[in-house]
């Protein structure tokens, strides 16, 4: 095999990402209004799923906090929306989420896996009920209205956040922090004996992933016009990224993206007409994926690719 062939192969995957990004960036010029709205929900879920996987994929710590970070972003937008420009809202929403994640991470990432999962699960409910109580008691109302922004701006904002997320996630994956995360997931004690500051790495990456969830929340708030704690801290936003990550597969970079696109499509198809059946299917997919697809769809694709492009691995 010649060197140019090898280089082409290396460029193949990033090339596809660039083509898809360019296509998405130019879409509002020729796409219908409906396709933009549909893509907004896809982009939102892709951001949530990818940022969830950045932390939970390699480490195996199941975070059920996405709804908390997403909700913090939503509330940032809702409370400061009148006074600050859109860009500032996105960044502030992300930063407040990061601050929360750093605090939570520093407190809890020393806990064993299952305790961490239920802690993050409790966190969403704690914030939700505290806010509810606060709103009823002190502001006298529940919920608030958000300044509305046109769909095209929301679309581009999500696209930019996603692009930044993908690039940084890719860099992290390739850096020594990515390797450190991987070794934490495989054998945490061994990783710590090798000189990795496991708590620091975990907390930093947890905070990083929360930034993008908060940013996505700050953007999405402007689409919903009205938010209250039940909408903002909706538990499904915690489960969706988990489902998407598991269904898509966390071993490959594109896994959660596939998962997010498929589940969102299913949601679009079923949610309005058969809400109960949709949630039922959601549960069935989760169980089946855990049982029969430990590597997710991406794992299946890789397996197929190896089978049909056999010999590729043998080349040294």
């Amino acid at each position: 095999m010649s060197t140019t062939g090898l280089n082409l192969k290396k460029l193949w995957v990033p090339g596809i990402y660039v083509i898809i990004l360019v296509f998405l960036a130019t879409l509002p010029m020729f796409g219908s209004a409906y396709s933009i709205i549909f893509l907004i929900s896809i982009l939102m879920y892709v951001i949530l799923a990818v940022s969830w996987t950045v932390f939970s994929g390699p480490t195996g710590y199941i975070s059920l906090a996405p709804a908390a970070f997403f909700g913090v972003g939503i509330y940032t937008s809702a409370t400061l929306g009148n006074d600050l420009p859109f860009t500032a809202l996105i960044i502030i929403g992300g930063l407040i989420s990061t601050a929360l994640a750093l605090l939570v991470g520093a407190l809890t990432l020393r806990l064993r896996g299952i305790y961490f999962a239920i802690f993050t699960f409790g966190l969403v409910e704690l914030i939700k009920h505290t806010l509810l109580w606060y709103e009823v008691k002190f502001t006298g109302t529940r919920g608030r209205f958000v300044v509305v922004i046109d769909n095209e701006t929301i679309y581009y904002a999500l696209l930019i956040v996603l692009a930044v997320l993908l690039i940084t996630a890719f860099i992290i994956r390739r850096s020594k922090y990515g390797l450190a995360l991987q070794s934490i997931g495989e054998y945490e004690e061994a990783a710590s004996h090798m000189g990795i500051n496991v708590t620091l790495v975990k907390v930093l990456v947890f905070g990083f992933s929360a930034f993008f969830m908060g940013a996505a929340g700050a953007i999405m708030a402007t689409r919903w016009t009205y938010v209250d704690p039940y909408i903002a801290f909706y538990l499904l936003f915690s489960f969706m990224p988990v489902l998407m990550g598991i269904l898509g597969g966390m071993g490959q970079f594109y896994g959660p993206i596939i998962g997010a696109v498929m589940v969102t499509y299913l949601e679009e198809l079923l949610l309005t007409k058969f809400p109960y059946y949709y949630m039922l299917i959601f549960g069935v997919i989760l169980v089946v994926a855990i049982l029969y697809l430990p590597q997710g769809l991406a794992g299946l694709i890789e397996k197929m690719r190896r089978r049909y492009l056999g010999g590729e691995r043998a080349r040294t």
Binding site: I62, I114, G122, E125, H129, L280, L286
Partner: protein
């Protein structure tokens, strides 16, 4: 003084229910290592089934206990035999199993909840039964609340005796301590784990019957009770049955005190206790 007594008795009545729910979850996590987040759905099923039995067929809710318990047991037993057993075989470590089984339980939560919503719809279901007031030292409570408490205590004690005194109980305790060694000593580990899971589900189903006597039931009530059960289990110590029993009463009394001063904050108080405990003493009050 009467108000103080009111609060304590209300707390005990609430605590009895919490204890019953938490014991089932504690058994499932302590022995089968499944943090069963679909626990509350069995409570919901118990409640819904009781409602149907009472309003459609006219069957007394106290008899429904004998029906809902075994039904929940069979579902739980089958769930462990099929889903969790095969997951256990596929998981390389206990930690991996705990993670994946919890996620699978989330899947079950959505499945059971939505099947129930398709069958029973999304309305609140309630019926009136045993509402005659009872006077306890000046504090007035419905008779059904006392029946609930009595049931919770009787079942709790019976359960403890079952674990401490019978051969099956001994096998369960052995499996909780070290499944591999217990298996080597002749304990049929798959059967014991499935029975534990089924018993946990049965306790939830019975709790559902009792809850439906006191409060309206509906399809999405499960998660709230699951969360309370998890908090009680963490409070009492993961896997400790006496811990779950005592923890239930403690949380019930705390809830009743907080509700008296600030009704909106009861759930917040639960979470604060929960988070504080996880940080300071994740083993809980009775944990080893």
């Amino acid at each position: 003084m009467v108000t103080f007594l009111d609060i304590v008795i209300a707390g005990l009545l609430l605590g009895g229910l919490y204890a019953l729910i938490a014991m089932g979850l504690s058994l499932q996590y302590g022995v089968a290592r499944v943090l069963n987040v679909s626990h509350g759905e069995f409570i919901m099923l118990g409640g819904m089934l009781t409602w149907t039995l009472y309003t459609v067929l006219g069957i007394n809710p106290l008899i429904a206990v004998v029906i809902c318990g075994p039904v929940a047991f069979i579902i739980g037993f089958a769930m462990h035999r099929t889903l969790f057993k095969s997951l256990l075989g596929k998981s390389p470590t206990v930690n991996a199993f705990e993670g994946s089984s919890m996620l699978a339980a989330f899947g079950l939560l959505f499945i059971i909840q939505n099947v129930a919503l398709i069958i029973w719809g999304s309305e609140l279901r309630s019926y009136s039964y045993l509402q005659s007031p009872v006077d306890i030292a000046g504090a007035i409570f419905g008779a059904r609340r006392l029946v609930t408490l009595a049931f919770a205590v009787v079942i709790g004690v019976a359960f403890y005796i079952f674990l401490a005194r019978t051969r099956m109980g001994k096998a369960i305790r052995a499996a909780a301590q070290d499944p591999t060694t217990a298996g080597l000593m002749g304990v049929n580990i798959d059967k014991v784990l499935a029975i534990c899971f089924g018993l946990g589900a049965a306790l939830a189903g019975i709790a559902g019957v009792l809850i439906s006597m006191c409060y309206p039931v509906h399809g999405v009530m499960g998660l709230e009770y699951t969360i309370i059960a998890i908090i009680v289990v963490v409070l009492g110590g993961m896997g400790s049955i006496p811990g779950a029993f005592i923890g239930g009463f403690i949380l019930g009394i705390i809830g009743s005190i907080v509700s008296y001063f600030e009704p909106g904050l009861a759930l917040v108080a639960y979470y604060v206790i929960f988070i504080f405990l996880l940080l300071v003493r994740p083993k809980g009050i009775m944990g080893k």
